[in-house]
Homo-oligomer: 337 residues x 2
């Protein structure tokens, strides 16, 4: 397959992205190629020292870059030759089988939605992340693609995430929960209440009801469904809190026993690695007719390499076919509402 990678997106681009691509060599099959999209001279410069890179990497030159803080839709309109716009356009033409970017998330989501369109039966694509928890991985969807969610959208996020959790996390029968503000039926807003009924009426789904943020980390479910605004707030909050706690813990430890600081640092690094977003290599935009993997803006080379791995897995396990079939079973001939 032809795996498009936005060489210009993310805090460590382009050098970090190029490095991540080079390190993915061992993951690729004979027919797989990484296509780096971005400023060709710069990319070539970073590739120069790698032996035989041209056997598994090719470059698509683009002259523009969308900044991390630009307004997505406007930026896409004004910069048709940006790495993100071009990557989506190549994917739409079938010249790329996947698009990966650590750049402007909004622009990437918008470009993928506009150019790749949706899978048959999908109402709205949603971004799914894998959260590492003490009790195992938990898939959360949506974390920011859709801030105007209807019950049907949330229901489909659950269905799509089940396929994802099975294929990527290897969970046989994922337990699905709705993120809410209390476990009881009476709790939650209107959206949660209406969505709950859709899940309850689906015998194929192992629906465990409402879940609070607290239980989510203690093995209450394998899939958490939420609307994009809440999911995105949650995502950033977790990142900020984890960072703050690590910082405080480290400071407190060095203060109480400076001689042991090095030891503590080692242990904390191990945990940080376990909870590191780089480890999970990006989040797919589930529901688009293609593969779009969104990486964290601060992705290091390892994050990019892992995202390429996720992409290969995504294809190998035929997730998109599974999603289409799963939706068709429920709404035969269903249109994209």
């Amino acid at each position: 397959m032809q795996i498009g990678v936005d060489a210009m997106g993310g805090d460590f681009a382009p050098v970090g992205v190029v490095k991540g691509a080079l390190e993915a060599r061992g993951l690729l099959g004979d027919d797989d190629k990484i296509v780096l999209i971005g400023d060709e001279p710069t990319i070539r410069e970073h590739l120069a020292e790698a032996d035989g890179w041209d056997k598994f990497i090719r470059i698509e030159h683009t002259s523009e870059v969308i900044g991390m803080d630009e307004s997505p839709v406007e930026a896409l309109r004004q910069k048709p030759d940006s790495s993100i716009a071009k990557m989506a356009s190549l994917a739409a033409k079938g010249r790329l089988d996947a698009m990966i970017s650590a750049g402007n998330t909004g622009a990437c989501v918008a470009a993928a939605q506009m150019r790749l369109r949706r899978l048959q039966g999908v109402h709205r694509p949603g971004i799914a992340i894998v959260m590492p928890t003490y009790a195992g991985p938990v898939v959360m969807c949506d974390v920011g693609a859709n801030v105007n969610c209807r019950p049907q959208h949330l229901y489909q996020y659950g269905l799509m995430s089940v396929e994802y959790a099975q294929c990527i996390c290897g969970i046989d029968e994922p337990r699905v929960a709705l993120l809410s503000i209390g476990e009881e039926d009476a709790k939650g807003n209107q959206l949660v209440k209406e969505t709950r009924e859709l899940f309850r009426n689906d015998p194929e789904i192992k629906f465990v009801g409402n879940v609070e943020g607290r239980e989510m980390f203690h093995g209450a479910c394998d899939v958490v469904v939420t609307e994009g605004f809440v999911g995105n707030v949650a995502l950033k909050l977790m990142e900020g809190l984890a960072e703050g706690l690590f910082k405080s813990t480290y400071l407190e430890l060095t203060r109480s026993n400076p001689d042991l600081a090095g030891q503590f640092e080692k242990a904390i690094t191990t945990i940080k690695d376990k909870y590191d977003f780089n480890e999970y290599g990006g989040a797919p935009l589930l529901g688009v007719n293609g593969i779009c993997i969104i990486c964290h803006g601060a992705s290091k080379p390892r994050g990019i390499t892992k995202a390429i791995g996720v992409t290969l897995n995504f294809t190998k396990t035929h997730i998109n076919d599974r999603i289409t079939e799963c939706l068709a079973r429920r709404e035969p001939g269903g249109d994209n509402l």
Copy 2:
């Protein structure tokens, strides 16, 4: 003042609550009394060994208890002699100046709203918590009282929280932010966008715009405004994540160097104390015509004692008068919409 405390509410009630009340003795002035509401024989039993408790504590007997998982409105209707219902009713009659409970939050909020009513000009009361962050305390409102927020509600949460942050956290000119999914104006849902305009048009408020969960922990603002659903999800999430991280860190450390585990445990305890909800003694329901302090269900005696301290401060700093004046300056003669 007469401080009502729900002796039957919370995981450690009644013994933990009674203990917390006893430990608050030093905080009380000559005219202050703690009124424990609950099963009198049980309360007396727990008070028995404390010398001179009757000088600062009295008991109001009730025969019923609302369970943590009961539906709030229904429970209040079915159990008029529950500690929460009776406490609210006594407060409404002026026989109590404050109500404190670590019991069923929903029931406590509903009882306070029904019986105490709202302060002049307040649209909807909101629960404000103080989050300990690496960069200092941050007030977040609302964390669960109101899941059907309109822009005016959020705007008032900001105004009320500013008064609270000034009085309780000692922050001179609190910087107010809206919790959203990106700092740029284009980001966020409709509610966030409309609320932003209200803050922007208020020259008295030091409004710093949107804030993401990440920045919130790094000193970007002193007050974070959000609607109750999002705020409550955030609250529980933070609790779950912190717990999970401490657990993982501890395990990792004992694994990598068992000798250090003891040292580490000590440091972790210090941090946990810093980040402990008990430290902040409950969250006020801002905007009710009275004082209603909601404690965490898992409040230990120290949490109850601190809540009594917050209550005294609440009165001493005349927060409710300040809120009424602050709203009247903006909407002279404003009705409770």
